[in-house]
């Protein structure tokens, strides 16, 4: 009987061994399968998140581009201020708020963009990119709680807002894009576009050399170069001296604010004389005649008829050589040369060419906020004295300011490649001698052109 029991025990050994091995292998296979499935799910999640991010990026880039293009033309579009243009965007195409129907298009960008097929639909409607990638985008005032940011009363005050979500106060607008991917993946991105950047006395979209005893004063008495900034001698700059490129000094300059290179570039406005054609009281034509804004002939330089108004014309250049000049805003179809001592007078000059001032004129701006504008270069070497309200000097190509001028306002240089020959062609804008420039800020909508000032992922 005992022997029979022993024999039965031996019969189970192989089966148990095989079963153990099978269990072991099954465990390994199960482990690898679970691991593989987890890896697959992780990869799918990464892919879904990447697709949602790509969609959000597409949306934010598209919407930001549309908003900047729209705000850049706030004057040409007839708005009284950048904030008025922003308010129009906040209220949407119908310009109305207050009821559900009116609010349906608030913040909508649906009417922006030249190509109707490429527009962004109104909030709540997604723009389809691929079958599993979509985005939606809209704008908010930066103190609007609906954007997903909670600001305290102190915060709202600090950013110069008013808790009125359709009333911009600080020339800043927030753009939000939500990207959707597969598996309910969602990514939300936000940019801030504002006019408040770079409100400095001198902004050059290139290199700047400041030499001698230049004085730059005022609450916005700062200098910024989108290229390199080189300061030598003993200039006195009350505010910041910053550059997007390199920053270098020698001598004993005094800078009251921040200094250095590597600062964000400031987008320059597009300086174009023809944009300001409607502001002119008088037009000095390339035919040597002066007309009023309606095109009525006032005088002809060929017969010396314009000399009484201070102007002569020769070889494409309108010149002031005497001590008198008629008040008003001039639109000049050519170059301008001032070598006399005209003034005091209320004069602004908008030139399709260059402006060369070597005398000692005494002017205050006739065109509110705009003193001089040139599609070419501006060179000031004399003792120009600007009085009255602060105004801008806008230059499409290059500028050189020396001598002993006294200027009030802001100098903005787009610094496009040189065509005019008045100022050196190496595209370095120079300020030297004893220039005195005072700027309190706020001209040109704050800085001239809207630009992206902030970016974040919610």
């Amino acid at each position: 009987m005992r022997a029979q029991l022993l024999r039965r025990d031996e019969h189970g050994f192989a089966l148990i061994g095989v079963l153990l091995m099978l269990f072991l292998l099954a465990g390994l296979v199960a482990s690898l399968t679970v691991s593989g499935q987890t890896e697959t799910k992780i990869s799918l999640n990464y892919e879904a998140e990447a697709k949602a991010r790509a969609a959000a990026e597409a949306g934010i880039n598209h919407a930001t581009s549309l908003v900047i293009d729209k705000l850049a033309t706030w004057q040409a579009d007839g708005y009284a201020s950048p904030s008025a243009a922003i308010n129009a965007l906040l209220k949407g195409p119908d310009g109305l708020t207050g009821t559900a129907a009116r609010d349906a298009d608030n913040g909508s960008l649906e009417n922006l963009g030249a190509d109707a097929t490429q527009r962004i639909p109104r909030p709540g409607t997604r723009r389809q990119l691929t079958p599993d990638e979509q985005y939606e985008a809209r704008v908010f005032d930066d103190d609007d709680p609906a954007r997903g940011v909670t600001l305290s009363a102190a915060d709202v005050s600090r950013i110069s807002e008013d808790n009125q979500i359709f009333n911009d106060q600080n020339k800043q607008i927030v753009i939000r894009a939500i990207g959707y991917g597969p598996n309910n993946a969602v990514v939300t991105l936000e940019t801030t576009v504002g006019f408040g950047v770079g409100d400095a006395a001198i902004i050059v979209n290139g290199d700047i050399d400041i030499q001698g005893n230049v004085q730059i004063q005022g609450a916005a008495g700062s200098v910024h170069a989108n290229g390199d900034l080189d300061i030598t001698g003993s200039p006195n700059i009350q505010g910041d001296a910053t550059a997007t490129g390199s920053y270098s000094t020698s001598g004993h300059p005094s800078v009251g604010g921040q200094t250095g290179g590597g600062f964000a570039a400031i987008a320059p406005p597009n300086v174009q004389a023809s944009d300001h054609r409607a502001e002119a009281d008088w037009v000095l034509t390339s035919a040597g005649t002066m007309t009023n804004s309606a095109g009525t002939l006032i005088c002809n330089s060929a017969s010396g008829g314009c000399a009484a108004r201070g102007w002569t014309y020769s070889g494409g250049t309108w010149s002031v050589t005497g001590n008198g000049i008629q008040n008003g805003t001039y639109y000049v179809q050519g170059d301008v040369s001032i070598t006399g001592n005209p003034g005091p007078a209320t004069v602004s000059i908008i030139s399709e060419g260059s402006i060369d001032i070597a005398g000692s004129p005494r002017f205050q701006a006739s065109d509110p906020g705009l003193f001089l504008l040139a599609n070419g270069d501006i060179e000031i070497t004399g003792n120009l004295t600007q009085t009255g309200a602060e105004a801008q000097i806008l230059v499409r190509e290059q500028i050189s300011v020396g001598g002993n001028p006294t200027l009030l306002g802001q100098i903005v240089v787009q610094n496009v490649p040189s065509v005019a020959n008045l100022v050196h062609a190496n595209r370095v804008d120079t300020f030297y001698g004893s220039l005195s420039l005072t700027y309190s800020g706020g001209l040109g909508g704050g800085s001239g052109a809207p630009a992206v000032t902030g970016w974040r992922q919610q």
Binding site: G257, G454, W455
Partner: protein, 229 residues
């Protein structure tokens, strides 16, 4: 007379039940034990190798995930660098007169490009860098990201919130490097020209690769566009 069948000696000597117990000779027994041993050894070896391979795979996978995750969150932080919609020049956090500096390489002064400091007015965007003096409570606005060579991990320190650097990964990160790139994607040492920051992170497995006898390494490199440059 019927002659009775004479039983054989063997039949007579052992009961029928016991007669079936013999049959394995010593040679057979040794041989079967040897074969069994070889088979068992092979099975154990295969199981062990399979387990090791599985562990190496899992370890490698885990290391890759750590590297990928690190690149993701570091890239996210870098993209926001320099966000400053309300023109902060200097803040009161974490110390008075902290100059707003979008990106600073090697803030820890190690001489290596494995640590970076990022400023961004993002949480919330309110014209403050980290908060008010004595109330530096706005997270994510002043970050230092660094490689901890001793503990082989990446650390993140919110300079306004954290008392010390916080490990963000397992101890598998063997190196991390930040490289400034200009708009053309060429390396530059000039902060002003930075358009992209290249992040390169290498992870090293804890387990050794059976085939190579050494830990496997995985390197992930990503060029992150700095949004406001």
């Amino acid at each position: 007379m019927v002659k009775a069948r004479r039983p054989t000696v063997r039949q007579d000597a052992r009961p029928a039940g016991l007669a079936r117990m013999d049959g394995y000779t010593l040679v057979e027994l040794l041989l079967s034990m040897g074969v069994g041993l070889v088979l068992m050894s092979a099975a154990v070896f295969v199981a062990r190798q399979t387990t090791l391979a599985s562990n190496v795979l899992m370890d490698g996978s885990s290391t890759q995930e750590e590297v990928q995750y690190s690149v993701e969150w570091i890239s996210s932080a870098l993209r926001a660098a320099g966000t400053n919609p309300y023109r902060i020049i200097a803040g009161a956090c974490p110390a008075a007169n902290t100059t707003f500096t979008p990106i600073r390489l090697d803030p820890n002064g190690t001489g290596r490009a494995d640590n970076i400091r990022i400023h961004a007015d993002v949480n919330p965007p309110n014209g403050l860098l980290g908060g008010l003096s004595g109330a530096c409570t706005e997270p994510g606005e002043d970050l230092t990201i660094a490689h901890d060579l001793t503990n082989l991990c990446i650390t993140r320190r919110d300079n306004n919130i954290d008392q010390a650097a916080v490990p963000m990964t397992d101890r598998v990160i063997s190196s991390m490097r930040f490289t400034y790139l200009n708009a053309q994607g060429v390396a530059t040492a000039i902060a002003a020209q930075v358009a992209y920051v290249q992040v390169s992170i290498t992870g090293r497995t804890i387990a050794r690769d059976v085939g190579r006898g050494a830990a496997a390494t995985y390197t992930l490199t990503s060029d992150v566009r700095v949004r406001l440059r």
